[in-house]
Symmetry: C2
Subunit: 277 residues, 2 copies
């Protein structure tokens, strides 16, 4: 396989790190809502902010995701990229996951880190292709996964260049420009890379089209799904879950001979911190 073709794409939430009790980025949005509410006292009576301030995740993740989008735009936009990266990293340094009482970045999957390293050693380029916000991931993913910023693809906030005191500032508006999920994933991969990957890793129906596109056609191709089956060490969920909903992609996995990774059965270690015990 020529090196230029060695491209592997990875979903992030639920594939490279955990996504429970709900997306870690949403946890950051809620944190921001609490920070910003003094400036916006009306938020206490308004959705989606009221739900965010009262940890009402069911409301935030219901229906077509409209409230989720509104919250994301209001809490992740309205800042420069530089300030945003700094704020995300401050939050990562100080917040703790409610169940594990550890930094969120401790909840990456050890077997996936090993896989990323293995592919890199074999001259693959590994890309993150996530529905999460592009710059949210860029704040920490290079440090945590060793994936450079140009190999991170995500949802995008509308951004404009402004000059302040003679300096160029990239200002994130409060408007999502592209939501990188489902059929959007192949589109953004095609746009950013201009080639079809030969390996794709996901864990939910939001990865279905990426898996289909990657694995259709001739030559050696790999599709794989991380199946959350380990209630004890991580979480167990699939067809009925709102977060990490895995239903159609699980049916398609059987039909297309994608590898389904049974977390409970196949992973000796889930998180890196287990190794230090």
């Amino acid at each position: 396989m020529p090196e230029s073709q060695r491209i592997a794409v990875f979903d992030n939430d639920g594939t490279l790190w955990s996504e429970r009790p709900f997306y870690f980025q949403l946890q950051y949005s809620i944190h921001r809502a609490h920070q910003l509410v003094d400036k916006h006292p009306e938020w206490r009576q308004q959705q989606p902010f009221q739900a965010a301030l009262t940890n009402d995740i069911a409301t935030l993740t219901a229906g077509d995701g409209k409230l989720f989008t509104q919250l994301t735009e209001a809490t992740l936009g309205g800042t420069s990229i530089t300030d945003y990266h700094a704020a995300v990293n401050r939050w990562l340094a100080t917040s703790r996951h409610p169940r594990f009482k550890r930094p969120y970045t401790d909840l990456v999957f050890q077997p996936m880190l090993e896989l990323l390293a293995y592919l890199k050693a074999n001259r693959f380029r590994t890309y993150i292709v996530s529905g999460g916000d592009l710059e949210f991931m860029r704040a920490w993913a290079t440090r945590v996964y060793g994936i450079p910023p140009e190999q991170i693809i995500g949802s995008r906030m509308k951004t404009r260049l402004v000059r302040k005191n003679g300096k160029a500032i990239f200002e994130r508006l409060t408007e999502i420009e592209f939501f990188n999920n489902a059929a959007g994933k192949p589109v953004s991969i095609r746009r950013a890379i201009g080639r079809r990957p030969i390996a794709a890793f996901g864990n939910s129906d939001g990865d279905l089209q990426m898996l289909q596109w990657t694995t259709t056609g001739t030559g050696k191709r790999l599709g794989a799904i991380v199946h959350h089956t380990d209630r004890k060490r991580e979480w167990s969920y699939d067809r009925k879950s709102r977060i990490g909903h895995l239903d159609k992609a699980l049916d398609e996995a059987a039909r297309n001979r994608w590898t389904v990774v049974d977390m409970k059965r196949d992973w000796k270690v889930v998180y890196p911190f287990e190794l230090a015990k």
Copy 2:
């Protein structure tokens, strides 16, 4: 300089190849208008098509570029990416530049090819950052410049994924989603690469912000402008030209110590075909 920082960005039209008598992509649009007019007989009486069909470039490039945009959307959209690449390459194989009677891809600049090769040999990643359509360039730029598709950044047509006969098709809609010019260039570089380049090459005011952003700050940084001064071998134009308008960026070049390449004085050879003589 660590390898990850060795990023150089190049405008395309007027920087890597010629752009006269008008952008070669516009020439392709006009070609497409002639192909499509049988299906759209009303175009003979409608702008921007009437101007395209009568080679009325002044009208097409006038004002705020609205007609140019409309023509681009109607003639470069409405096709799959695969079919589009094939059509562009058929056109490149059969059309000839009106002055040089050669394929358009013969009109790349030999010194710039040498510069691209030099940078690549020194482990730079070279990116095209053009106002031209992303997939128009991808159809040929890898072959002509040796720049891989993931290092090409351009204006983007809205694209969606559809399935036809079980195959994934990327369908280009007739709508420009992002115009990659002026302040748009730093934004798209920031988005695609996530880092600031250390070298930028342009030839017009559309490259001003990219040059400013690249050359501001600490460390070794290079900004360079290709100045079209050779009426005999290429063309001569700058401040008063509508295509390749170079005015403010020329003033800024002096202030910022950007290198201004005087094509007539500095280039022994302009086009590769001169070497074969």
